[in-house]
């Protein structure tokens, strides 16, 4: 136990980081898997939530629901606007979609910087949570512990929504066979707008809750986008469980990996991705390309 002791805190941090990535990546999986859109502005949706949290949070409890509602609403609105802007672009025209969403990410990032300044903003959490608590002889930030619980609840909720509800059934059906879903009388445009709105809401939720972990700043959008892309690649599009596992793995590599192997950890992330892609290149991509 004593040898493992120094790694307890990084491992716990990895769980917090991984769950945060899971909530963001779930939104990306939705827009990618269901609507077939590689949304390069997804990180910007997270950044919107994080900036709103930094702007509203004043260290009191009242600010928490306010920031949650405002942040999620702002990101949902941005996601819906994105769906509207993407409407003239044909489904399957990936290049135009990529150019459009990257352009919006650039412009959106620039607007966020002009509105909130070029520095990384500090985020104030309620005073009760803004202190270390004792955890098996280590002090650990109370907020992160609470975040792990809240994010786990969100993850379970997402899982139940996808596997048990009618909306979740629709999502899974749209991943497997979008034409059939359209034939069954479900309007593809509504599916697309709905998916991008929910995807924005998830990114915003992650942004507000995760702001004290991956804080708002000029590079936030790019960091979050790339990490959640890695999660999507590692997890595939087949299951919520796969995405969760991939997110936790990425989180652990980023924290525990750095503690254990400081020099090789940065490569580990992408090496893992390359290995998994190479191992499953044919099978998974066949499956993906029919998605």
């Amino acid at each position: 136990m004593s040898e493992l002791d120094p790694y307890l805190i990084p491992a716990l941090d990895g769980v917090a980081y991984g769950l945060l990535l899971f909530v963001v990546a779930a939104g990306l999986v939705l827009s990618f898997g269901v609507a077939g859109i590689l949304n390069l502005a997804h990180g910007t949706l997270y950044a919107i939530g994080a900036y709103v949290a930094a702007w509203l949070a004043d260290g009191g409890w009242a600010a928490v629901p306010l920031a949650l509602v405002a942040g999620v609403a702002a990101s949902t609105a941005a996601g819906t606007a994105l769906a509207g802007l993407l409407t003239p672009v044909k489904r399957g025209d990936h290049l135009t979609q990529a150019l459009l969403t990257f352009g919006l990410a650039l412009a959106g990032g620039s607007l966020l910087v002009s509105a909130f300044g070029p520095d990384d903003l500090p985020v104030r959490v309620p005073a009760v949570l803004d202190r270390p608590i004792d955890l098996a002889g280590h002090s650990y930030a109370a907020y992160r512990l609470v975040f792990i619980v809240v994010a786990a609840v969100i993850a379970v909720g997402l899982y139940l929504t996808v596997t048990r509800t009618r909306a979740g059934m629709l999502v899974r059906a749209a991943v497997d066979d979008p034409q059939m879903v359209a034939c069954l009388g479900v309007n593809p445009t509504r599916v697309r707008v709905g998916v991008l709105a929910v995807s924005g809401a998830l990114a915003g939720l992650a942004g507000v809750l995760g702001a004290p972990i991956i804080g708002p700043g000029p590079s936030t959008a790019a960091t979050v986008l790339l990490l959640s892309l890695v999660v999507v690649v590692l997890g595939g599009l087949s299951s919520v469980g796969g995405t969760l596992l991939a997110a936790l793995a990425v989180g652990e590599i980023q924290t525990l990996g750095v503690a254990l192997l400081p020099t090789t950890a940065p490569f580990l992330l992408y090496a893992a991705m390359a290995v998994i892609l190479a191992a499953r290149a044919r099978g998974v991509l066949r499956r993906w390309s029919t998605a």
Binding site: L95, G103, M273, L285
Partner: protein
């Protein structure tokens, strides 16, 4: 008609360093290098139908190979160029299994990951790349004019080679694989091998671009190969009309010139203008200036789906 325009354009490109100042010449040389990398992006995106965000990776590999050779006193230009092309091609050969089985948006995502991996390696492998501080390369020409003309000569030869190959049966096979993969496979063509060949060739071209970058800029750092560069390359290629090689050179040069111009025009707000340029291109020029028929890519997706 096209040739009538091309000849004076070539003459103007050779004459321009005697007309403009040194700073403009150096800028033009850099734009030319990026235009050459744009050719490799266009070869994949337009001709082969593999839209890519990852050509910055063989670009970086070639640049660091050339810079290392320069530091080890290999001053002969062609040796560096061949070495850089070889390293770029080898990199592409290694990553080809990840790319050539994928189609459409999956290629974008996988190549993006490859590009990011390359930046990570470039900023961490300090003994070879100098990390984020970058490498200062040994100067190979005394004047900006010399560096520009060298870049122009190499880029011109490479683009001419690409155009020749695309006119040959090899180009026909690539375009046919893009337009109707299922039919090509049914007639017994090894489409995957063709795509691999094109991907490796594009890697070699990007590698040559890397060697030229070291020559023209005399400095190389991971910032030269960022995700933004990859996205701007793709934008330039789309503006140039993804199927056209000369369009790719012009489009890429235009986009990077616009970026430099924007940051002088509105300091701090360049990304906003650049983002607007992306959005405008997506809406107004989905077929590029050269009028590339984008419906073909959609057709290919459908054809591939129909086969399964």
């Amino acid at each position: 008609m096209k040739r009538l325009i091309l000849l004076p354009a070539c003459a103007a490109a050779v004459a321009v360093p005697w007309v403009v100042d040194d700073y403009t010449t150096a800028t033009l040389a850099r734009l030319l290098v990026l235009g050459l990398v744009g050719v490799s992006v266009a070869l994949l995106t337009g001709v082969t139908g593999l839209p890519t965000l990852g050509q910055t990776a063989p670009f970086a590999a070639g640049a660091y190979a050339a810079a290392q050779l320069g530091l080890h006193d290999v001053a002969v230009g062609p040796v560096r160029l061949v070495a850089a092309a070889g390293v770029g091609a080898a990199f592409a050969l290694l990553t080809a299994p990840l790319v050539v089985y994928a189609r459409g948006v999956f290629v974008l995502m996988i190549t993006l990951a490859i590009g990011e991996l390359a930046i990570t390696v470039a900023s961490r492998w300090k003994s070879v790349t100098g990390g984020t501080d970058g490498l200062i390369a040994a100067p190979s020409f005394d004047t900006d004019r010399g560096r520009y003309l060298y870049a122009l000569l190499v880029a011109g030869v490479v683009v001419a080679l690409v155009l020749l190959v695309l006119r040959s049966p090899a180009g026909l096979l690539l375009r046919a694989s893009r337009d109707d993969e299922a039919r090509m496979r049914a007639s017994g063509h090894p489409v995957t091998a063709y795509l691999t060949g094109a991907y490796v060739a594009a890697g070699a071209i990007a590698g040559v671009g890397g060697a030229l970058l070291v020559t023209t800029q005399q400095y190389v750092s991971p910032a030269d190969f960022s995700f933004d560069t990859a996205a701007l390359l793709l934008l330039g290629v789309v503006i140039g009309g993804a199927g056209s090689m000369l369009g790719a050179v012009a489009g890429t040069a235009l986009v990077f010139a616009a970026r430099d111009w924007f940051s002088g025009l509105l300091p701090g707000h360049a990304p906003l203008l650049l983002g607007a340029l992306f959005v405008l291109t997506a809406y107004l020029l989905p077929r590029g200036v050269a009028g590339f028929d984008w419906r073909r890519i959609g057709r290919r997706d459908r054809a591939a789906k129909g086969a399964r």
